[in-house]
Amino acid sequence: MFLRSGRHDAVKRVTCPGPPPSVASPHCHITIAVAIIAGGFAFALPTALADSQGYTSKYDFGTTATEQEIAAVAMAIPADGKGLPPGKGDYATGNTVYETTCAACHGRDLTGVAGLPDMLSGAALRLIGGRGTLASANPLVTVESYWPYATTLFDYIRRAMPFSAPGSLSNDEVYAVTTYILAEGNIVDKTTVIDAETLPKVQMPNRDGFIPDPRPELFK
């Protein structure tokens, strides 16, 4: 138990004094001076000056990114599927990919493995099930029951999975394992072949389950 030490109103509000003007003023001048120097160097250094001081280019660092380098990181896929790469995947191939690269954490039955570090219940690793539970005391939040867009599944697997080696799956493998998860969740038929054309058309069960935040926007 803790006891109050004295009356509350005896506790004074502590006021934090700002620095005296004589201290604050030079500091501000220094800041401004640095900004001017940096700005001048970055934006106004003439080419002749750069040459005369031995710089090989205006900034003398970095290289221009190649088309391939840009393509390797410009991989975000929006809900309409724009930018989905060529390739395709089916259930059987996805099953193989899943068993070799996913099942260790997500479980052979796609319901998550319990007892992993920081994920003791395994619920966050669960991929399927839970339809109809969102309006209950124990909602089961999974790809099948909660995620509004199938494209998000492709995007996330490609950029972040498997956890131990993200980026190691080919586009075909990502399409295949996406197909496998969606089929196991009874969202697509097991005969479905998923590619850039078909993935954005997959109707997720909870597509209309999201609403804008109704609370007023502050600080307009």
């Binding site: 138990m1 803790f2 006891l3 109050r4 030490s5 004295g6 509350h8 506790v11 004074k12 509000r13 502590v14 006021t15 934090c16 840009i70 990181v73 410009a74 975000a76 896929i77 929006p78 809900a79 219940s121 619920a123 966050a124 969102l134 309006a135 209950s136 005391a137 124990n138 909602p139 089961l140 939040v141 790809v143 909660y146 995620w147 509004p148 867009y149 494209t151 998000t152 995007d155 996330y156 972040a160 389950g209 999201f210 609403i211 804008p212 935040d213 109704p214 609370r215 926007e217 502050l218 600080f219």
Partner: protein, 207 residues
């Protein structure tokens, strides 16, 4: 770099989310300067949200009463934590201690912080330390005497909109238990520290 105004999330209709990622979240006040440096690798511009995994399955607030989830709920509501005594610390023995901590809200100024030393049964006002500014961490203080018996200490913040920090259980009741819901990512429930008779302080979740 910020496209939105500093320290604020851009509204969706204003082109969310650059303001968050590049201004608010990237500046770590008081730490080594290079901790605040973020390497901008790439700029992508889209006319609509990408609905990534984090946007759709994590930073959304499921409401179990309706089964619907609020989306783009990036504002952190009133929240607080006691920084002394807190987890992994050891109190040397009974005596005078100033309980202190930080409170903040994404919806304005902190107007009140209350302290409980009996696991939430009773609450008393803490003193706020100037400056008290909107969307800013606010220091609170609560001088008290520990008699050496086990105690659970908690802080509870209220912001200028009148919103008071809920208990974990209140959040679980609305959004589902921790194990089943995305609540883990957006959590402003009251934080509890248990102080044992030997003075050790541990993180607990009393119900």
């Amino acid at each position: 770099m910020p496209f939105g105004r500093a320290r604020r999330v851009c509204a969706e209709r204003r082109g969310y989310p650059p303001g968050t990622r590049l201004s608010d979240a990237s500046f770590s006040a008081g730490l080594e300067g290079n901790i605040s440096i973020k390497w901008l690798r790439r700029l992508g511009v889209s006319d609509k949200p990408f609905y990534t995994r984090e946007e759709t399955s994590k930073y959304t607030d499921l409401m179990t009463t309706t089964g619907k989830a609020r989306i783009f709920t990036f504002t952190m509501e009133a929240k607080s934590v006691i920084t002394f005594p807190s987890g992994e610390m050891n109190l040397p023995g009974p005596g005078f201690y100033e309980i202190t901590g930080l409170a903040w809200s994404g919806r304005g100024k902190i107007v009140r912080v209350e302290i409980s030393t009996d696991g939430g049964k009773s609450w008393s006002l803490a003193a706020l330390q100037d400056p008290v500014l909107p969307i800013s961490q606010t220091r609170f203080r609560f001088p008290s005497i520990w008699d050496g018996t086990p105690a659970i200490i908690q802080s509870r913040a209220t912001d200028e909109t009148g919103y008071t920090q809920p208990t974990h259980q209140q959040l679980f009741d609305e959004r589902g238990p921790l194990e089943s819901a995305p609540l883990f990512y957006h959590m402003n429930g009251i934080q509890s520290w248990a102080i044992a008779a030997d003075g050790s302080v541990k993180n607990v979740h009393p119900t």
